[in-house]
Subunit: 341 residues, 2 copies
């Protein structure tokens, strides 16, 4: 396992294994408990709830966020079962967000399968999302840590606020890089942050250590989202589990588009205005968008920014004592950034 | 104030004032704090959030649920500020539910105004509802009572589960009275229960007292919802803040319809099947529905059941020491049931 090989850490991100395999192996036993708890939490006498929950749960998501919670608790020697409950709650918060996002974005696909709303309708997707969020809070309360509850309830608010900000910024090319980073801090980085922060909290660590893990999660979340943005214009649909160009077709103003629009000539800006702002998309437009993104260096610049966040995520891990779990958390950073080149 | 006049209580519901005026007067000072906190919690840099929240908050809802929380804490001599936070959280949970309900039911009106989704869209209504729910949990966590958090997070799950059950039962005349009471227990009584239960919890009372207030809230919630169901076919739109017949037009199977369908002749059942199940509604159908509900005694029977729940709500108050707050809680029962005759 790569996690055991490397002894020196700082500044060696490139040398570490760009894989989540070490993490998956380390947290495997705990994640079995998380998965069992998730199935239990998705139970209900209202048949649609377990049906929809299983549709999402069985759809092959990586479960990166709950794995981070498990690793961030175990890295501090935690031996209780609170981390399993918090991890399951984090995954339910994420799943609830996906259900509502697909309704808001009118998405047809999710992780390579039909979105729940295409099978059960928008109404059921809204209500089952609410149920999963309620179940997430019930499970958190069982852990009995007010600090963990504070972190996760704040994340729930911030995520929703980020989605509202994204909705308001939708189809608006005047969104600048700073505003966009604010959106992804809220809609993505906040849950990565909370998922990591509750690890040292449940393990009873001090405020500085908790802040370090919060920083690791935040930086990783930024890197993860920016890579996702780049992949939407360059990854294969095999990798993504969604069609390439989803963001483009939904008129989402992401960092690649912001950078390409800023660097483009008049004709380019007219193209982005027609497609993203006015939603007038014809055959060949996605290909032209990808060509513009490559010509202006917007994809490369987006990936470069993701790498910067990744470096800072690894730096934050200096607060974590040497262990296989700490190494695995470092590998996650390399993995996230390496998904795109 | 009627609350001070009557000294003897049990079995005297009819003699008590059918008004929430005593409650409003008693909790007025605390409710000013609740209202200030609600405005604070609805703040956000995402402009749509305070706009939508204020649209609902300023729309003249009675704020019955948070008033119950305040009274149920004060009735036990509580002097802290936790009840104000819990009351605001309860109102936010309710407001979030309204936002999502209107999306799910495709409602056009709410409390006599255009529903938020008609002004800001379904997308914003879903996301702002999520934000309000997140803010509710943040506020609850500040109180620091894990017992209150357990009660309210369980309510959040149960409410959503009830909404899913109602969605599944929609337009289905095979729904029987027992199944329907299960739906309203979840979608309405659960929040009344939690709103009342957290009062003695925050006041540090024993399990029996907490259970008694939980029972009071549950029974009151049933009574409240059944009266609402009856009013939808008989109240004036002035009273309701929504058009009479909303449930009918949305194909909602409520207790009046269940009872009328069961007691009706073949032609009646064909009428309910066409209108409620198939949604084929023509001019004059609402008037005919109201006529059938009156002829079969379905409205009277629904109100009679509501009265039964009201009696049990008052019985549960035996666990509360004599006080103006206790009297006001009793008056709420009479008020709820007296909204319809």
């Amino acid at each position: 396992m790569g996690a055991v090989v490397s002894k020196e850490r700082r500044g060696e991100t490139a040398a570490r294994e760009a894989s989540i395999a070490p993490l998956v192996a380390l947290v495997g036993a705990d994640m079995e408990k998380v998965n069992a708890l998730i199935l239990d939490m998705a139970g209900s006498n209202a048949d649609m709830i377990p049906e929809i929950a299983r549709h999402l749960i069985d759809s092959g998501g990586k479960r990166l966020r709950p794995m981070l919670t498990i690793a961030a608790a175990r890295a501090f020697g935690y031996e209780g079962d609170g981390h399993v409950k918090l991890a399951a709650a984090v995954e339910f918060m994420h799943t609830a967000t996906l259900l509502h996002d697909d309704v808001v974005d009118e998405s047809e696909m999710r992780r390579g399968k039909l979105a729940a709303r295409m099978l059960w309708g928008n109404q059921a997707s809204v209500l089952v999302g609410d149920y999963l969020l309620g179940q997430a809070f019930r499970t958190m309360v069982e852990v009995g840590s007010l600090d963990a509850l504070r972190v996760l309830s704040e994340a729930a608010s911030v995520i929703a606020e980020g989605e509202v900000m994204q909705l308001a910024a939708a189809k608006n090319l005047a969104t600048d890089e700073t505003a966009y980073l604010g959106v992804i801090n809220a809609k993505t980085a906040a849950l990565f942050k909370a998922a990591c922060e509750v690890g040292p909290i449940v393990a009873g660590r001090d405020a500085d250590t908790i802040a370090a893990l919060a920083r690791y999660g935040t930086e990783l979340g930024y890197a993860f989202q920016l890579v996702d943005d780049a992949l939407d214009y360059g990854g294969s649909s095999m990798t993504l589990g969604k069609k390439v160009g989803d963001d483009f077709r939904e008129g989402k103003v992401t960092l690649p588009v912001i950078l390409a629009n800023r660097a483009g000539n008049e004709a380019d800006r007219a193209f982005w205005s027609r497609t993203i702002e006015r939603g007038e998309i014809a055959d060949g437009d996605l290909e032209h968008a990808i060509e513009l993104l490559r010509r202006t260096g917007a994809i490369a610049a987006t990936v470069e920014r993701a790498r910067g966040f990744g470096v800072r995520a690894v730096e934050a891990l200096a607060a974590v004592p040497a262990s296989a779990h700490r190494d695995a958390l470092e590998d996650v950073v390399a993995y996230c950034v390496s998904r795109v080149s």
